[in-house]
Symmetry: C2
Subunit: 341 residues, 2 copies
């Protein structure tokens, strides 16, 4: 029998459609991996092509000290076709009965490694750590602009997940308001706190640890699990085990542990569902707020195995064809160490 499950934070219902249950091999995955080479002459993210992008706002360099030249390990640049624009006045106006504001914001690309043929899943741990450190550094820098109220860091892997360039990269968008999904998570956490005087994410992590059935992997500081009300097959969250509201304030040691667990999770997903497209989104606290509400930061990884259709778009209710218990079982039982050695 199918189940309706509710996200304990946002109160969104999800249909876990048992009748349609899908194993990893039931999904058509794998975008063509057209034999990528380490360098692509036409790729704006490859070393040597630095002038094909806007000037860099961050560069971790192991040789050349000169910006916008080769010799970098991670590089961040403004998006050439930004969804929002840094320059201009922030202005709210009406238009008849409607409300609008000027599209002020920042839209940046983080180029994760110089090699054209690598992804975040298969770079070294040192390199992955640098990528997450660059998220912190860019967020810290952008937070100094008081017009910005939220920074969403995200990653699109594969064409069906919305990636338009194949060279490994993440993106961030700084917004002049706190987006609705974040408000819902904060309000849901506050509602739970009011009722129980505990953090809803801490409780979730405790229950997941004790039940075990939805846990994928963990280390000293972080846990990866498939959430009870997963919207997508094989959706996996990575969160700090202890209560911490802000990703940006994580220590260097913790960022390394986080990078290690994210890489392990992505490797497990990739082994279960070869070269599947996915998105990940980093959920952390808003910035430049009067009231600094509590939160528990986490990363959501969402493989793109099914297509949202009219029902999801009309109702906001997702139909998930793989239960999170099954997904976690498959991801757990993948022997990444055997296969990756």
């Amino acid at each position: 029998m199918p189940q309706l499950r509710r996200d304990p934070v946002t109160r969104e219902w999800v249909i876990i459609a048992a009748e349609r249950s899908r194993r990893p091999s039931d999904f058509k995955v794998g975008e063509e991996m057209r034999g990528k080479s380490v360098f692509s002459p036409t790729c704006p993210f490859c070393p040597g092509n630095e002038l094909m992008t806007p000037g860099e706002v961050l560069g971790y360099r192991w040789s050349s000290p000169t910006s916008n030249t080769p010799g970098w390990a991670v590089r961040a640049v403004p998006n050439k076709f930004p969804a929002l624009q840094v320059e201009g006045e922030f202005d709210r106006t009406g238009y008849g009965m409607y409300d609008m504001m000027s599209g002020i914001g920042a839209h940046e690309v983080i180029i994760e490694c110089p090699e054209h043929d690598k992804t975040l899943t298969d770079v070294s741990l040192d390199q992955a750590e640098l990528v997450f450190k660059s998220y912190q550094d860019r967020c810290k820098d952008l937070s100094q602009d008081s017009r910005f109220k939220y920074i969403m860091v995200f990653r699109n892997q594969g064409r069906v997940a919305g990636a338009s360039l194949e060279h490994a990269h993440s993106q961030l968008i700084a917004l002049p308001m706190v987006p609705r999904n974040v408000i819902e998570k904060m309000e849901g956490a506050a509602r739970y706190y009011e009722f129980r005087e505990r953090c809803v994410y801490c409780d979730m992590i405790k229950q997941e640890t004790s039940y075990g059935e939805r846990v994928v992997c963990e280390n000293e500081q972080f846990i990866a699990f498939c959430p009870f009300a997963s919207k997508y097959p094989f959706e996996t969250w990575v969160a700090p085990k202890l209560h911490r509201r802000n990703f940006v304030q994580e220590s260097k040691q913790n960022i390394r542990l986080f990078a290690a667990l994210v890489q392990e999770t992505l490797q497990r997903i990739t082994l279960c569902l070869p070269s599947t497209a996915y998105n990940f989104t980093l959920h952390t606290s808003p910035i430049n707020q009067d009231i600094d509400k509590d939160f528990h930061w986490h990363l959501s990884i969402m493989p793109r195995l099914t297509v949202n259709a009219g029902f999801e778009m009309g109702t906001g209710i997702h139909i998930n064809v793989t239960s999170p218990e099954d997904a976690a079982k498959y991801l757990r039982s993948t022997s990444i160490f055997d296969e990756l050695v």
Copy 2:
């Protein structure tokens, strides 16, 4: 400069990304139309294959009076792989800190015409009218089951819009609760009413009619327009001009006028964006509620031209690369009568 626009009902923000502005010819559209024929021997929705589907719950027949045999114009059957299940007890339970309920509901398919090679866009007006009449009849019948609180009727056209069978069909899912998107629309409409003592949709239609820039087409009773805060390029709503809360209560004459305007809108979309995939969703009042809140029913048509990526999934904010003013201009200026004659 990009704009942030707010939906006056749900208060969702949308980014209208002017810098990325796209005309119809900039989109890669057109799924392969592999020369479909009027009958497909393996299609469960073709006449003669009636026993390949669960037994019909509705059949408008012009010849044979026998169920589940050829001779029908429109036919509705339970979905063979339902997301929710009609049989069983409705049960809410907890699971540790989580909430769930049994997946009770109905999931039906409406086969829109006997011909395998037609779509809702190109069937006769008589046939399109029958399709919308069948929505009414199935909704009326399912409303008698007091376990159901909402019925979402939707249509997925094309593979990228989630259609798994190509024979023209709509679907409906009856739910044991009112979904979140519907609650948000009802609450938003109630909030607006409290402030202005007018229906927000009526005000929207008045503004659109008077400004004209987002109107696509209209007839005596219905109007099609691209909403001010369109989430998707070429998103178009079709709504009754006068305040009416419930699709199911529309008269036969109005259903015909509605069918005509939906067909005209879909024809305009198809001419601008040849064989593009799309979804539509019918937003009407909940059923079996104690408090019958007010609403203004409408149909949302959402072409699938871009892919939701990490940013949309993480924030709930859509980036729309074609302004609704541009979209309406293209749709308006398409000469459907010239091209269709």
